[in-house]
């Protein structure tokens, strides 16, 4: 009888450890999924830009530099390697787009163009999606890191070599200070 109780206790403990381990794996997968979502949205923004340039080109003939800056920032962002470099390049792209939309303010014809309005909505939404995806990534990272550091999951995490994930941090101080972008 005591032997049976011992076995039952062991089984319960093993099942419990399984549960903790699975929880860790699920949390890690959430982090990975959230990270890939950021990439999806960045790609979406890159894909929208050629259309935007094509629409704007006809209206703002004398503002070549602004358009070229956007095109350059886009290709820099697409070719960037690694999280840090990519973060910087995407920040640049956001800034050049902002100046492009600021420029559009002084072209009433452009502002009335249906295509331009549709693209403006798409880009606004994409900016939102990027920041929501980053927010989701950071939230899931926090949950995962909490699991890794807190008792009792930290023991399992140590045993199976779960590594803490890094938060997404905004590079430039001015972006930190001004969280609201208006096109």
């Amino acid at each position: 009888m005591p032997f049976l109780i011992l076995i039952a206790v062991l089984v319960v403990i093993v099942l419990w450890v399984f549960g903790l381990y699975n929880g860790l794996v699920a949390a890690r997968n959430m982090v990975r999924n959230a990270w890939s979502q950021i990439d999806v949205q960045l790609k979406r923004r890159h894909d929208l830009i050629p259309n935007l340039i094509e629409t704007v080109k006809g209206y703002v003939k004398h503002e070549r530099e602004t358009l070229e800056a956007v095109v350059q920032a886009r290709s820099a962002a697409m070719n960037a390697q690694g999280a840090a470099e990519s973060g910087k390049a995407e920040g640049m792209l956001t800034n050049t787009l902002k100046s492009l939309f600021a420029l559009a303010e002084s072209y009433p014809d452009l502002k009335a163009n249906q295509n331009f309005l549709a693209l403006q909505e798409e880009l606004t939404s994409t900016e939102n999606r990027i920041s929501f995806a980053r927010q989701a990534y950071n939230d899931s990272t926090m949950r995962y890191n909490n699991k890794i550091e807190m008792v009792p999951t930290n023991i399992i995490a140590g045993m199976f070599n779960f590594k803490a994930s890094e938060f997404f941090e905004i590079e430039t101080p001015e972006e930190r200070a001004v969280p609201k972008v208006s096109f």
Partner: protein, 419 residues
Amino acid sequence: MWEIIQSNRRKSAILVVVMAGLLIAIGYLAGELLVGPGMGVSGIAVAAVVWIILSLVAYFQGRTIFLAVSGATKISKEDHPKLFNVVEEMTIASMLPSMPDIYIIDDPAPNAFSIGRDPAHAAVAITSGLLNMLDRDELQGVMAHEIAHVRNRDILFMTMIGVMMGAIVLIADITVRSLFYGGGRRRSRSSDSGQAQIIILVVGLALMILAPILARLIYMAASRKREYLADASAVEFTRLPDGLARALEKIGLSVLKSPRINRVVAPMCVVNPLEKTRSVQGLFSTHPPVTERVRILREMNAGPGVSGTFLQSYDQAFRKVTGAKTSSIPASALAQISAILPAAIAGGAGGDESSIDRARETRDAIWKSKQYRYIACDCGASLKVPPACRLPRIRCLRCRTEHMMGDAQASAMSQAGVI
């Protein structure tokens, strides 16, 4: 987030057990009173069958039925890009596995609801009245609230507990009515109508009247709790309490009621569709008072020094405004440490949009979802032709140019959105 869902599940389980207990008691009493002494078990069986049938219908056909009853039409991205984008943004923020379907209801009363048994089968619906009223930030707040209902698994729970309430009300109603109108005959058949039976009759009747009320109270209390939680989760997604607060204020100022939104979907709505906003809202309300919800959200917004997660800050505001000691949010969820990213970038394009533009956008969404043909005339006018129109050609109202209805170019242009 997971903590919220899990804590909700635990509490839900308790409520479901209580409701099930009520249902069994009602079934037993109905059997005793209607069929005869000792037949309580058959009453329970009947109650179970009623409940199972109602549940199956609600589970598999609930969404279809409610959307049809409220006259909702499904829209695609081309019909209303902004609404579509906002919902997709909230899907990303809430980390739902898939995006809910979007429906518009042609109704001037401002409201919105979500429905569907799980996130994969979820749908959000919004009335044209509400869509006209809100700018982008506010729309985002409302959609975040609806998506929060989806993410927190409120819909399935409220539907299921609503079905139990429905079964209890139904059985109690039938029993009381047949006792009043046909009970005399049945009782005279049993020869020994002793004192014991009269007591059973009286107690049974009292319970028959009390049980539905009790069921409603449980249901409404659960619903109100989940409204606060959905508000808190909405702010967690948007990081912008102001959007939802402004939207709720606008809705609260409206005096229109929504006859098309069914009482069963009421708990999933952003505000209670069945009550005038300024009437007394008490224990029998599915929603907490709008003014109180706005005050809580404003309180959050006011304090720049509020620390911790947005759930924590909502909770602080909730306690301060309502004076409640108990939290609106499960403690396990509050144990999470602060979130990092500052307020998400929200707003933008919608900011300087006039209400006329919004009304046009909404109308277009409804007409396009109803298969209206949009024909762009060279003079800049846009002709909207209802699908029932069978004319071979149509004249522009402004410049009198004739357009062929079968015109390939016109249909291509209307599809490209050049209108």
